[in-house]
Symmetry: C2
DNA sequence: AGGCATTTGTGAAGACTTGCACAAATCGCG
DNA sequence: CGCGATTTGTGCAAGTCTTCACAAATGCCT
């Protein structure tokens, strides 16, 4: 069980049959483009220019064009991009055509909120099971779904075809949960616990740490207050 | 009110008196180092090597040393870093000595969870006020604090010295809320709504989009399932 | 006091990412 | 049919970030 490595850019396709060799930075922006495109489609737009889509997604238009060019040529010069076609292509690349089953582990404050969050379902993810290690919480209904005990995880993951696990436990439980998820066959983990997870090669981990986001903002606040000369750069988003 | 620009690296200090010129990538990692250092301190370690701290923080040791070297020389060759001293230095740089007051807007599912999340308080942030636009929710007690109406925001932000706003509203309300926060004097925003915010220069925005994280994982799942040859790279964290 | 093992701090190379600027392609219109 | 306006796709250069590799510094042990 190796310590996970830092993000390594460039998703090689090994010259295989179907798939593009997307830079990791591009992959991270595609979902944002997709969201903007859905908004445009809802607003009745059939086509959109790189400039228009870039603005809607909060990026530079040259960057947007380069990102999309990695998927192939789906724009028309002098016109722009076909909104429906581009949605189709990005969903294809992101693998969003098959609805993915997700297991959510840790039904505390955050877990409750995630279980009820409509944004997952509306964007192609199905929360297929809820788990907690606390037997007092097992059986509780959250958003119409019963909480199950961690000991069921292997069976449920197999039965439901779950490939993604979301960890919303305290930090001290997260590694054990990750090990259980991996043992059950999960190959992608979204970790909300404030700790680093060790996972085997072949398992992807993304981490979201709410306090870290605030601390980064704190740095910029601090800088602004001690140094009033320069305008702030907008960070991330 | 300009469209915000993409992350621009390098936080210039303008040659001013006090402050280091930290690369943005370094700033984003400092909170992770800080968390790891607190763990080490709790475990009774007085010093730690770059290798040890790097492992605990999930990064390469050379990267860690370069990051820390930007803060100055606080290590001892042949020995390592003094844990307490380094904690002190990083907290200084991140501006965590003064507790920062945070306003949380949007007390729905996610807002409730954030209001109750202990990780904020334990890492130096004080949730000073809760707001919602729904008058039916105003007055409700969440974690011992009453929800107030958005119309109070200007007065409360001034009274409580709030500098950071957290937006946990639906996407269609987020821009209005951001405008209100900025008008009230907030200069940093953490946005959980799935949309791009336009803010004036001088205001920092960071975005956390839970569905986007899953979609990025989905891409890697998709890639793994269509291409079984290569081992996956671990993404982000 | 001297030598050895350890570990930091950093120069340099390489990889990745961004953004400009423009040729090539397309459409609409006279 | 041809021309001008528009917009994509991309070569290239600049900037940023990561990683290696090693000299310099430190402490321990004899």
């Amino acid at each position: 069980m190796s310590q996970q490595r830092a993000q390594s850019s460039g998703v090689a396709s090994g010259g295989g049959p179907g798939f593009p060799d997307l830079p990791e930075a591009t992959v991270a922006r595609l979902p944002e483009y997709l969201r903007a495109l859905h908004n445009l489609a809802d607003a009745g737009h059939d086509t959109v220019s790189s400039e228009g889509l870039a603005t809607a997604a909060g990026v530079n238009s040259a960057k947007l064009r380069k990102d999309l060019s990695h998927l192939g040529s789906y724009g028309t010069r002098g016109v722009g991009y076909d909104v429906t076609l581009l949605i189709e292509q990005i969903e294809q690349v992101l693998g969003l055509h098959e609805t993915r089953a997700v297991a959510l582990v840790g039904i505390g404050n955050l877990g409750h909120a995630l279980a009820r969050y409509a944004g997952f379902a509306s964007r192609g993810f199905h929360i297929a099971a809820l788990f907690d290690a606390d037997r007092d919480r097992v059986g509780e209904l959250v958003n119409g779904m019963a909480v199950r005990h961690m000991s069921d995880i292997a069976a449920v993951v197999a039965d439901e075809g779950i490939s993604i696990g979301v960890i919303a436990t305290p930090a001290d439980a997260a590694q054990v949960v990750a090990d259980d998820l991996v043992a059950a066959g999960v190959t992608s983990i979204l970790n909300f616990a404030p700790c680093v997870l060790a996972v085997p090669d072949g398992v992807d981990v993304r981490k979201v740490d709410l306090a870290i986001e605030l601390q980064i903002l704190s740095f910029h606040e601090h800088r602004k207050s001690t140094l009033t000369a320069l305008p702030a750069k907008v960070v991330g988003q």
